[in-house]
């Protein structure tokens, strides 16, 4: 289980919830559960290279293939960040 912090622009997909607590033992399981609960959040995969993941404020290096190897605990706070850009 872990808590995912939803970035403000994506709260339109989570019924305005700032955080969501989900069950899972790995980062991959937690993110799968998140996308099953809020299908609109699939937009985070629109530009895979843009998604940054932080656990307890620390950046997670590595791509999707490594998410299965990252274990999470009940106290972990996961932040999903997609940078915003301008011309």
């Amino acid at each position: 289980m872990a808590t995912i912090i939803i970035p403000f622009p994506f709260r339109k997909y989570t019924d305005k919830h700032r955080e969501v607590t989900l069950t899972g033992e790995t980062l991959a399981e937690i993110l799968d559960a998140l996308l099953k609960q809020y299908s609109g959040l699939h937009v985070i995969h629109d530009h895979p290279g843009l998604l940054s993941i932080f656990i307890n404020g620390k950046s997670i290096n590595g791509g999707v293939d490594q998410w299965n190897e990252i274990t999470v605990t009940d106290s972990d706070e996961i932040s999903l960040i997609i940078p915003i850009a301008g011309g």
């Binding site: 912090i5 970035p7 403000f8 622009p9 994506f10 709260r11 339109k12 305005k16 700032r18 937009v43 629109d46 530009h47 290279g49 843009l50 940054s52 932080f54 404020g57 950046s59 932040s79 960040i81 940078p83 915003i84 850009a85 301008g86 011309g87």
Partner: protein, 190 residues
Amino acid sequence: MSWLNDIDQILLPPAKWEEIIAHCKRKLAGDFLPGESRVKRAYGILAGVQKGRVLHVQLVLPVKKNARNNEPLKTYMDTVMTEHAVPSTTPLGQRGWITDPEELMGCYDLCDRENLQIFGTYHMHIVPWDGDPIRDTPTLLDTVLARESNLFSFIISMVDIENPSMKAFFEGVINREIPIIIEKHPAQDS
């Protein structure tokens, strides 16, 4: 939770407007803060509260770091800009701004702690174009980069540095402009 149909105007206190313009002028003057990207372009976040059909700007957050040339963001920006940016003699790597993820997370955390909603981002246009002498509207690139952002793009015209102006466009779309009113809210009088 889209503002497009729920908002009639954006109220910007004069002091916040001055903060935004001071940020733009400082960057244009090449007066950079420690840790700040040394580029003469300003990028920032506006946050505040919604009251009825009005957004009240309460916080101006200048963004320090342009992650434009950090991979994998560089590849994304190069691709989008090659496809959508107006041709320029300025090298591609010196154009465009994308926020550093860690800095952005800090901005989100601050706004959550203060119970503020993020309304959007601002950046300035400084060079007049043929047929567009004021440059106070989004470019095609601005629109592409703001797509599905659920944020306003605040475009600041700094073509005439002594007479700057700013307009707000939901998701950077030119026909989704919401008027900005620069005035003190009655509740702030005291």
